[in-house]
């Protein structure tokens, strides 16, 4: 279980410019939660706070009751909105590197899961945009985190490819049961995937404007 407790945030030196205001959110094991909101509302900031990369001005992040605020850890792993693959590592190495104990069988399984078998010896620079996203997903699964945050992972791709990747994610999620926080600016992306949608407000500072339970088919 992952808890965001009363998270408030402003970037250093700008206390008057509050970005997140008292955001509380609990994600249970195995859940897939969507987080939506307009551009600039602070979705990525909240994700980085969750993963321990940014220290919130106030509030805590608890992972199974353990306070991991501002402590990067393997329990909460995020796929960044910006490219975060290591360009110098080949596909298979990239996935193995992320494991706590390298396990070739598991690397093969994960690559098969994201349809990257046969590309083991490719560098990220030699993959297509969609393949890079799938590699990032395989690497994140290799970490085996308590919570996987996907920050607009597929938003930059064209509609067809995006839908294909959400389909892949759904399949992956069904077979691994990883707890997911899925960030996107389009509620439509969450269909058939998320249990609920947390909507952040457009007004500043950002709060949770509503939580919508999604019917899953």
């Amino acid at each position: 279980m992952i808890e965001f407790q009363h998270i408030s945030h402003h970037y250093p030196g700008k206390p008057e410019n509050l970005i997140l205001d008292d955001i509380s959110l609990t994600i249970s094991k195995g859940e897939c939660v969507g987080l939506t909101g307009p551009s600039g509302c602070g979705k990525s900031t909240l994700a980085k706070i969750g993963a321990g990369h940014v220290r919130p001005a106030a509030g805590k992040v608890l992972v199974n009751g353990r306070d991991l605020t501002c402590r990067p850890n393997r329990e909460v792993f995020m796929i960044h909105q910006e490219p975060d693959l290591f360009p110098w590592q080949k596909v298979a190495k990239q996935v193995a590197f992320a494991m706590s104990k390298p396990d070739n069988r598991r690397v093969e399984q994960l690559l098969a899961l994201v349809k990257l078998r046969g590309f083991e010896n490719f560098y990220p620079g030699q993959l297509s945009g969609g393949m890079k996203k799938r590699l990032a997903l395989a690497r994140a699964l290799a970490v085996d985190p308590e919570l996987l945050i996907l920050d607009e992972s597929f938003s930059s791709l064209d509609a067809t490819l995006k839908n294909e990747l959400y389909e892949d994610l759904r399949r992956v999620w069904q077979s691994t049961g990883t707890t997911i926080l899925l960030i996107t600016h389009q509620s439509a992306d969450l269909a058939n995937l998320a249990h609920r949608e947390i909507r952040l407000s457009a007004a500043k500072p950002t709060t949770i404007s509503e939580t919508i339970n999604l019917v899953r088919t």
Binding site: H53, R74, M78, F86, P87
Partner: protein
């Protein structure tokens, strides 16, 4: 005119100059990368400190040739002095590009490595160093060229051998045709040295050719 061209002597002078540039540049690569990476892990306060900045940046302005008298004073006339002169020429670009490369590693890559709980020396060696390698190679390419120019200058002033020394000797003997041969050789070897760093780069960081990300 060129009938007095002494091919074995020319080859020997080339080899002397090349071995000096190799030795000096190797030192500059090892030390330049080490100092560049070390500077990148200084605490943020020290990095911004103007005095620290001055101490790192100011020494690179006096050109290698200006150091020659001091190097001779401290190390005498000999192979080691030549290495030091090459080192002075090659160090700055390698050090600077290493530091710049380390500083420009993207926050997403850093964060990702931290999430994987990669810390300390491992973080430096397995993340920052490889991520900075393309820029480090840019520095090495410039460093090799600088080193090559420096060794010729050093040999002209204090050498007992090498292409720079040969130029001086031929100048004194007014053998301008042989001098021209030396100049041409310096150009050819400089070009080959440069090309071999490009070749090494392709071998060592093939992923960079592949388009990085």
């Amino acid at each position: 005119m060129l009938e007095i061209l002494d091919l074995p002597a020319l080859a020997l002078n080339c080899l002397f100059s090349i071995s000096r540039v190799m030795a000096g540049v190797s030192m500059a690569i090892v030390i330049g990368i080490a100092v560049g990476l070390s500077r990148s892990i200084l605490p943020a306060g020290l990095k911004r400190n103007k005095l620290v900045k001055f101490l790192f940046e100011a020494p690179k302005f006096p050109p290698p040739i200006a150091w020659i008298p001091f190097v001779i004073l401290l190390c005498g006339i000999g192979e080691f002095s030549a290495y030091i002169i090459v080192f002075i020429g090659a160090f700055s670009p390698i050090f600077t590009s290493t530091y710049d490369g380390a500083e420009s590693v993207s926050p997403a890559i850093r964060d990702c490595a931290r999430s994987l709980e990669i810390k300390g020396a491992r973080f430096l060696w397995q993340i920052i160093f490889p991520a900075a390698l393309p820029q480090i190679f840019t520095g090495i390419r410039v460093g090799v060229s600088m080193g090559w120019m420096s060794v010729i200058a050093a040999e002209m002033i204090s050498g007992q051998s090498g292409l720079g020394y040969s130029i001086q000797l031929n100048r004194l003997n007014m053998q301008y045709d042989l001098m021209t041969v030396d100049i041409v050789m310096i150009g050819i070897i400089g070009f080959l040295l440069f090309e071999s760093t490009v070749f090494l780069q392709k071998k060592i960081i093939p992923w960079h050719e592949a388009g990085g990300m």
